[in-house]
């Protein structure tokens, strides 16, 4: 027995493990920091841009150009009273906002934000985790996110919240189908469920050029999925107060809000990954390109919010079931035919 060689293998394993752990923690930290900071500033950008669309300034008092507004908002949310209604189902009421925020944050785990890099001779992929069924993971979490809105609305024990929650559940379940179906052509093109492989398959040509219909369906369904105008029926402020989060206050409301904006970025990231070539791009490094694409998608979402009115409930359902899903199915068939011949 050679103790020296044994020591060396142990050392190698330990070294790999240590580097892997450190890299993972660093990646997690970077992704979380990016997502949360971006979420805070996305709120500011949205308010500013909506303001400009409506020929006014938007927040411009906290700091230069209102740049400290996110911090002011956070401090306000944190210090506000955390009210739980007497009639609420306490445990579920307290958990629902966390479900929304956690599912939104977890989804980013499979989004690759750069090519593999080499640290001390070890290959470190720039993705938190490369699951070979990453796309299914995304959809699983996206469906779980429905529970946040539905349970939050139900447990508040208020009619507005309940209506908002039910609307949210019905809407998201219907649009989940179109969302999933619209991505099947992308999976067929790339031949993989892994988001890393899908990005790598777009080195030459982003899928938005190959699959414009799938892109349109995915974008529309994504808007419905994150409950944004013109599909913001669950929180329709005009008729439902604030829908499923009517009864929430303080940081729990903040979590719903945060979840919504993180979700916006995640779907921006997913659109980038599936249709815009992920982190691929000339000159700039991968993570920067991904951030640019996410911001672009978010800006378009804000533009849509500033332009379109809210759909009626029956219009929403009609559009989802009678237009988007058949179109997505047809697109699957057409793509299949094209790949076959």
């Amino acid at each position: 027995m050679e103790p020296v060689s044994l020591d060396v293998t142990v050392d190698m394993d330990l070294q790999i493990w240590i580097i892997g752990t450190i890299a993972l923690v660093l990646k997690l930290g970077a992704v979380l920091l990016f997502l949360l900071l971006m979420a805070a500033y996305l709120v500011l950008v949205e308010r500013k841009l909506l303001g400009r669309i409506q020929v006014r300034y938007g927040p411009n008092r906290a700091g230069k150009y209102g740049l400290l507004q996110p911090f002011a908002d956070t401090i306000k949310m944190m210090t506000k009273e955390d009210i739980v209604p007497d009639a609420a189902d306490r445990v579920i009421f307290l958990l629902a906002p966390a479900v929304v925020a956690i599912t939104a944050l977890l989804m980013f785990a499979v989004i690759p934000f750069g090519p593999d890099i080499t640290v001390y001779g070890h290959r470190v992929p720039l993705v938190v985790t490369d699951i070979n069924v990453g796309l299914l993971f995304v959809f699983a979490l996206s469906s779980l996110g429905v529970y946040g809105a539905a349970l939050g609305g139900w447990s508040s024990n208020s009619k507005y919240s309940l209506l908002g929650g039910i609307r949210g559940a019905a809407q998201m379940v219907s649009y989940e189908l179109a969302l999933g179906l619209s991505l099947i052509p992308v999976v067929m093109e790339a031949g993989s469920f892994s988001l890393v492989d899908i990005v790598n398959a777009q080195t030459q040509l982003p899928y938005i050029l190959l699959e414009p219909v799938a892109f349109a369906i995915f974008f529309i369904s994504a808007l419905a999925e994150i409950k944004r105008i013109p599909f913001d029926l669950p929180e329709a402020e005009n008729e439902l107060g604030a829908g499923f989060h009517t009864e929430y206050s303080g940081m729990r409301f903040g979590l719903f809000f945060l979840g919504e904006y993180v979700h916006m970025q995640v779907l921006g990231g997913l659109i980038a990954v599936f249709f815009l070539g992920g982190w691929h791009g000339p000159l700039l490094p991968g993570p920067v390109w991904l951030a640019v694409k996410i911001v672009l998608v978010c800006l378009v979402m804000i533009w849509i919010r500033g332009t379109l009115p809210r759909l009626r409930y029956d219009q929403l359902m009609n559009f989802g079931w009678k237009v988007l899903i058949p179109a997505a199915l047809l697109n699957v068939v057409v793509t299949g035919a094209r790949l076959l011949w």
Binding site: L49, G51, R52, I53, Q54, V55, R56, Y57, T307, L308
Partner: protein, 191 residues
């Protein structure tokens, strides 16, 4: 939309789709155009718009052109005030002029309706455009006479009640005022 334009909307599926797409695109173009327009917001603490003289805000007690207090403490404003925020105590000077010994307006109750100004026979009480009267302590909104008195005639600078009043004061005796005839001898039947 003009009526003749409504008639031109095509009824076919393709036509409807085309019209809808055009309409949505026009909406997006409009919002995009507005992003690059300068906002029309007037930013308040830096930009203070000059309000019209008749704006109804903080109440003042004005003076006549000679610098005397116009208020004759007739209680009409106090009586007409729907929220009873005006109170005073009348007194009389040695020369026969009435004045308010103290005069108090509780601006925490005032609804700025302007009825006091309309009721005032001497143009003494007037609403001014000064609206910045926010206070943290509500009791500081109770204004006394010395807080209310200003050194000008407000919206009616030339008016002096005692020049028209027919009340004997230092300004003049009976019949000595503007637009006033000498006193009629009631014991004579001559015109």
């Amino acid at each position: 939309m003009r009526v003749d334009l409504i008639d031109k909307v095509p009824s076919g599926a393709i036509g409807t789709l085309w019209e809808g797409t055009k309409a949505i695109a026009a909406g997006f173009a409009t919002t995009l155009k507005h992003v690059f327009r300068p906002p029309i917001t007037e930013e308040y603490p830096e930009f203070r718009r000059v309000l019209p003289a008749r704006t109804r805000a903080r109440i003042v007690l004005t003076r006549d052109p000679d610098g005397g207090e116009r208020c004759v403490a007739c209680y009409l404003c106090s009586g007409v005030c729907p929220v009873s925020c005006i109170s005073m105590q009348s007194a009389e000077r040695t020369d026969g002029r009435r004045f308010a010994a103290w005069f108090r307006i509780n601006f925490a109750r005032c609804i700025y309706c302007g009825l006091c100004e309309e009721a005032c026979p001497t143009s003494a009480i007037q609403l001014s455009p000064m609206f910045e009267t926010c206070e943290r302590d509500i009791l500081t909104l109770v204004y006394e006479k010395e807080d209310l008195l200003v050194d000008h005639g407000g919206k009616d600078p030339d008016y002096n009640f005692y020049r028209h009043a027919g009340v004997v004061t230092a300004i003049g005796g009976k019949g000595g005022h503007i637009d006033e005839d000498p006193p009629v001898n009631v014991r004579s039947n001559m015109p």
